[in-house]
C-alpha cells in the first residue's frame, strides 16, 4: 500500500494533461465539458468507495476475529466516499451552470447524489456520537446496511421525474469513444488510486489512534485511577 502513493501523482498529472490538452473540444459544449473527465472519475470512485463501505460493514458485522480492522476500513471508505461525492456534486454543479444555466436542478441523478451525501454524512455523525468502540462498530454497520438498501429506492423514486442528465452507458453501448474514453479511464484510475491511498492513510491513522487510546487506558489502570 505504501508505494501506491507514488503512483497517484503521475496518474493525476497524466490525467490532467489528457483531459485539458490532449482530447479535442466538443463543438456543442466547447471547453466547459472538459470538467467531465474529473466528474466521471470522482463519481465512479465515490460509488465504488460507498459500495466498499457496505461490503466492509457487512463483513465487520459477521466477522468473529477481525471486526476492529474491518470497521476501520469501513469508516475510511465512507469518509473517502463522502469526499468523492462532494467532489462529484461540486464539479457537476460548475458544469451545470455553464451547460444548463443553473447550478442546481432537481434531476434524478443530482437529487439522488445529494440524498446519498446526506445519508453518508449521517453515517459519520452517528460514528462520532458513540464513544464505545464495540457499539460504534455494530451501530454504524447496521446503519450502513440499511442506508445502502435505501439508495436504489431513492434513485427509483426520483427517476420517475424527467431526467436531463447525460448518460454514459446506454443499451446500445457507451456514448464516448476513442481519445475521450482513454482520458476517462486514465482519470478514473488516477482518482481510484488517490482514493485507495487516502483510505490506507485513514486506516493507519485510526489504528494508531486506537492503539494510543488503549495504551493510555492501560497506563491509567496501572496508576490506579
Amino acid at each position: 500500500m505504501r508505494y501506491v502513493r507514488w503512483l497517484s501523482l503521475p496518474l493525476w498529472l497524466a490525467g490532467l494533461y489528457l483531459a485539458l490538452l490532449w482530447v479535442p473540444d466538443i463543438r456543442a459544449l466547447g471547453v466547459s465539458y472538459r470538467i467531465f473527465y474529473i466528474h466521471l472519475g470522482v463519481a465512479w470512485t465515490a460509488l465504488l468507495a460507498l459500495t466498499g463501505n457496505f461490503a466492509l460493514s457487512l463483513a465487520a458485522l459477521l466477522s468473529k476475529g477481525r471486526q476492529a480492522a474491518l470497521d476501520r476500513f469501513a469508516q475510511a471508505s465512507a469518509e473517502v466516499g463522502l469526499l468523492m461525492t462532494t467532489a462529484t456534486l461540486a464539479s457537476g454543479m460548475l458544469w451545470a451552470r455553464v451547460a444548463w444555466g443553473a447550478y442546481w436542478t432537481w434531476d434524478p441523478r443530482l437529487t439522488t447524489t445529494a440524498i446519498m451525501w446526506f445519508l453518508y454524512a449521517g453515517y459519520l455523525l452517528l460514528r462520532q456520537a458513540i464513544d464505545d468502540s464495540g457499539r460504534r462498530r455494530v451501530y454504524s454497520a447496521v446503519y450502513a446496511l440499511i442506508v445502502f438498501i435505501d439508495v436504489p429506492i431513492v434513485y427509483l423514486s426520483v427517476r420517475w421525474w424527467q431526467s436531463i442528465h447525460p448518460v454514459v452507458f446506454t443499451e446500445s453501448g457507451m456514448t464516448i469513444t476513442g481519445q475521450m474514453l482513454f482520458a476517462v479511464i486514465v482519470f478514473f484510475f488516477a482518482t481510484l488510486v488517490l482514493a485507495l491511498d487516502l483510505i490506507s492513510l485513514r486506516v493507519t491513522q485510526e489504528g494508531l489512534r486506537q492503539a494510543l487510546d488503549e495504551r493510555r487506558a492501560e497506563r491509567f489502570e496501572r496508576l490506579g485511577y
Binding site: D131, R135, R137, V138, V142, I146, I153, S157, W160
Partner: protein, 218 residues
Amino acid sequence: MLKAAWWLFWKDVSLELRGRELLLPAGVFGLIIAMLYGFAFSGAVRELRPIFPGLLWLGIFFSSFLAVGRSFGVEPEANRQLLMAPIDRGAIFLAKLLLNVLLTLVLAAVLTPTLSVLLGVPLPQSTGQLLGTLGLGVVGFAAAGSAMGALSAQTRLRELLLPALLLPFTSPLLLGAVSATRALYSGSAAGMWLWLMAAFDGIFILVPVLLFEYLTEV
C-alpha cells in the same frame, strides 16, 4: 415472537394512555405547524390546493418525528432489563414499531382534517384511497423512524441525531406520499407511487427486525 411483541406493545400503549408523554407534545406541535402554515402561506398564494399534499406530509412527518424519536427513550431501565427476558429480540423492536405506527396514525388522523379546515382545502373525494395513501406513508415513516430511533437513542446526541439520519432516509417515502396524494386530487393514477411506498414499508419493517439483535448485543 408476535405474542411477545403484542404484549410489549400493549405495555407501551397503557403507559402512553396514563402519561400521554408522546402523543400530547407531538399533537400540539402538529397543530402549531398547521397554524404556522397559515401565517406563512395564506395570503401569499391564492390557492393552497396545489401545495396542500406537500404541506400535509411535511406536517405529518415533522410531528410524528417527535413521538418516534422519543419512543426508544421511554423507560430506559426497563428496556435494559427486557434484554434478559427469554423472548426474541426482534419482538422488542416490533413492539416499538407497532407503537410508532399507532402514534403516527393518530397524529395523521388529527392533522389531516385540521390542515384541511385551516388551509381551506377540501380533502379528496375518494376516502378509501386517501386512507390507503395515509396508511402506507405513515407505516413507512414509523418503520424507518423505529430503525433510526433505535440507533440514535444509544448515542451521545440522542434525539438530536435523529433528523440527520431519518429525514434524508425517508425522502423516497415523502416523494411517494406527496405524489400519490397529489394524484388523488388530479384524478390521475397513483399506482406506481403506492407500490413504491409499499415496497419501502415492507423492506424497512423486515430488515431492521432482522438486524435488531445485533444492536442489543453491544
